[in-house]
Symmetry: C2
Subunit: 575 residues, 2 copies
Amino acid sequence: MSDNPRLQPPGGTEMLAWVRHYRRAWLSGDLTAGLVLSIMVIPQSMAYAMLAGMPVQVGLYASLLPLLGYALFGSSMSMSVGPVAVTGLMTATLLAPLASIGSPDYLQLAVWLALLSGGMLFVLGLLRLGFLANFLSHPVISGFISGAAILILFSQLPSLLGRESLPHGLRELVREWHLVNTLVLGMGLAALAWLLYARSWMAGHLRGLGLPGALATLLARLAPIVVVVVAVWATWYFDLAAHGVPVVGHLPAGLPALVWSTPGLGDLRQLLLPAALISLVTFVESVSIAQSLARRKRQSINPDRELLGLGAANLGSAVTGGFAVAGGFSRSSVNIEAGANTPVAGVIAALIIGLILLTVAPLFAYLPLVMLAAVIMVAVTPLIDVRSLIRAWRYDRAEGLTLLSTLLGVLILGVEGGIILGVCWSIVAQLWRGSRPHVAVIGRVPDTHYFRNTKRHLVETVPQLLALRIDENIFFANTKAVEQAIYQALADYPDTREVLLILSAVNHIDSTGLDMLSELTEGLNERGIHLHLAEVKGPLMDHLEHTDWITRQVDQLFPSTHIAFNTLAELKRPD
Amino acid sequence: MSDNPRLQPPGGTEMLAWVRHYRRAWLSGDLTAGLVLSIMVIPQSMAYAMLAGMPVQVGLYASLLPLLGYALFGSSMSMSVGPVAVTGLMTATLLAPLASIGSPDYLQLAVWLALLSGGMLFVLGLLRLGFLANFLSHPVISGFISGAAILILFSQLPSLLGRESLPHGLRELVREWHLVNTLVLGMGLAALAWLLYARSWMAGHLRGLGLPGALATLLARLAPIVVVVVAVWATWYFDLAAHGVPVVGHLPAGLPALVWSTPGLGDLRQLLLPAALISLVTFVESVSIAQSLARRKRQSINPDRELLGLGAANLGSAVTGGFAVAGGFSRSSVNIEAGANTPVAGVIAALIIGLILLTVAPLFAYLPLVMLAAVIMVAVTPLIDVRSLIRAWRYDRAEGLTLLSTLLGVLILGVEGGIILGVCWSIVAQLWRGSRPHVAVIGRVPDTHYFRNTKRHLVETVPQLLALRIDENIFFANTKAVEQAIYQALADYPDTREVLLILSAVNHIDSTGLDMLSELTEGLNERGIHLHLAEVKGPLMDHLEHTDWITRQVDQLFPSTHIAFNTLAELKRPD
């Protein structure tokens, strides 16, 4: 990888620019990254397939075409796309009401879900509608991811205990302890310990042994494959399946067949909302990952091309019988840390995974499911983001509540209800904020051109003139409050003959607001009080200039508060 | 009625102040108004009861206690409360899925709907939650009322044709013309003609005959009672019921019994959403009527007391077996035109209606239903408000679309779906507006302290300094757009070393916006560009002052753009 920015692969701008401008110097980085990536995603992909209620090999299938599809259309140079925890969970929970997990119907629905969501993403990309994702605020995303991570953690407890389902409480767990397969539990805890060690301390210890920092980090990232290899060997050698350890079982060799199937109208209707939600989450999560990766390398990404890339990736997953995929944070981090310069790294990873499917994949039949559960649990724990909750709460109670209600919504109502609740909550919070406008009576800072709130600063006022600064767009949710504030100010300053509204902070007035202002002005005029405006912004004036309010009811318009103050303070009207 | 404002009845402020301060001079106005009001509301109330799917006498019952209840708690001196077209329609359409119209179950549900909605309104009043109604924007209200009026018009066509239900099309109407009762149709058209004449020309003609203007207007308003009297006489004299003219039929004499019944949990659950919607519409409509009446007499109203008054009115209607009531525009107009000074007018009207129930009410058994249909049709036609649609459309496409989609929503999805669609649409329109922020590169108007958009004015700029004014609150829906606008400006001004954000029009920054600004500042700092702020508003600063963004990343804070410009234009930094 070159440090000269001119020699860096271009991100974001032109489609496939990295192909036309590919430099040999980038190849070694891309090769290493592809190899490392493939080793890292094999256990993860199988684990997330299990989470999604699919056969584990489907996780590997969903790591082939998506990487190629994203490489063709996406704009990030280092993001890696494939099965991730959240799409796995969403697939399982969104489809659970429609078909029993693992049944042929279920597998078909999962494929259609990926197909539909891929189609939606691609079409949104073509229509350049990437901005739609802006309606997910950060607290909603953070609350959603934390809630999903907690759900995922709990979903893995039965596998960890070697049971079919979770006991209803601790008391029941103790009473039915004989049903717990302690061999499975022991293997699971050992794997968890190893994986946690690898994540938190291994890199430091390897560096202590004299390895270069980057290599130490990478080796630690690859620790999960050790779990897989050791577990496969031990299961085969000790014939653990015969001791009641649930294993992956039959796993066909070879590449997936390409199958295109179209859902019927009934299925389509059932899958529309789930597909829309999964698309939304996929897009928002992936774009934020792509952006943070691009910032690291001072590149840029293009949200509409991200939509195309993610759409193509999901379509690719669907035609190989896979489930919904997205950009993954840990897989992308490994990719960039291993030196990926372009999507070539992803293509190489896909080739290696394909090779593994053709050769050693049947060995994974010996893999105990508890190992995959351990991989999942360690992968999702860092997604529970308590720090964001604290930060949002400190900054603004409403935002903290948004985050918390999204999180609890996910836990109580499920992923669907949680995300809808969060979006509604953040919209209501935004309206609520706008519905309590700050309206300040202002005066002049002595001997200056500046005007400030009379309640915060020592300023001069003129008895006949009431100057009010409205610090909010005037729209349906706050018209009553603005009206009330103005009448309150009039009651506080009973000698007022001229009212000056300073609109420097008003960017829009909707028709409800306009109706109120018009009635207000009429009421003032009847009482012999005149209304003037100052600092009306250009775009707002474009809107207002033909209304009766401006042309007939408002007295004077001033470009600045200073001029308005000077003119109106001197004004003598005949009584 | 006195012209001296000190002698006018106080509105809005104290509870029942009009009782303590009652003046003999007000009595004659109140008496006349009470008499006129009672005559006017008798046909209307019966008609709206028919619209609501209730026996016609229930309309009269619902005109007794509501007037007293509102008089006790309400704040308007001239609003008249009772059955209105919209609550009649809403009762019928909201209850239609729950029970067959006219059945005992249906009558019970209608009473409970009034009870529940009255309870909600009263509790909201006690909690001073009147501001909740602000979430209905004017276009939504206007679209809703127009849509409801169209629905009501169509609902009366079968009665006009003397048929049970509407034919499916014009062709079917012609083919089944023999089913149309032409006698009924003729009576209906005659009544429509008379009512339309009375509304549009009668007052002018009466004035032409030498009557004083106010009296002429009042007499014209009372024309519907003529229809009722003539129709009752003709039906009795010609025994029209025997000729297949549907009539009111049995109508019991006497006052309604007071009955209190409480709905069960199942009914309660079914009725909650309908009651909430009917409460919302009742409150919004009534308050806007009360406000326009109060303005005419330079009085004021109190929204929370309106909630109490409307709540008491609906509870009063419920205990007499009535349905949901609200403030009516035409009945209130008649009240104020006839000289009402205080709610005493309403109390007198209630007494007169009670007297009529005790005496001549059984005669209404002869009233043909088609007359009531004609009364309804003439009453609701002016509610179809095309002018508001045109005005909203001209002012802002989004507002016109909100109005239109609410109207069509009511027609296609029903009153429930229409109002929910309208509220959602207006919220989305508001977010949409906020999601496209105006960000201006500004410069100094030569030799002044003023700063303006470089694209709209001839201003001076400094090469190293990029001054940007953000004309919108920064929140989740527009963070991407603000970020993009800033980067675009940086690309347009490549020599920038100092970026100045002028926040005079920014009243809030949410946590999503803060995250964006923080990342943006970090990105700029990495490129050796410094970020400064000017004109941060007091309330916003209270929020921001402890964030990392302000304390660590932002370079300087300036009280005014002028000072910032002077300081930053001179700034020399070591390279």
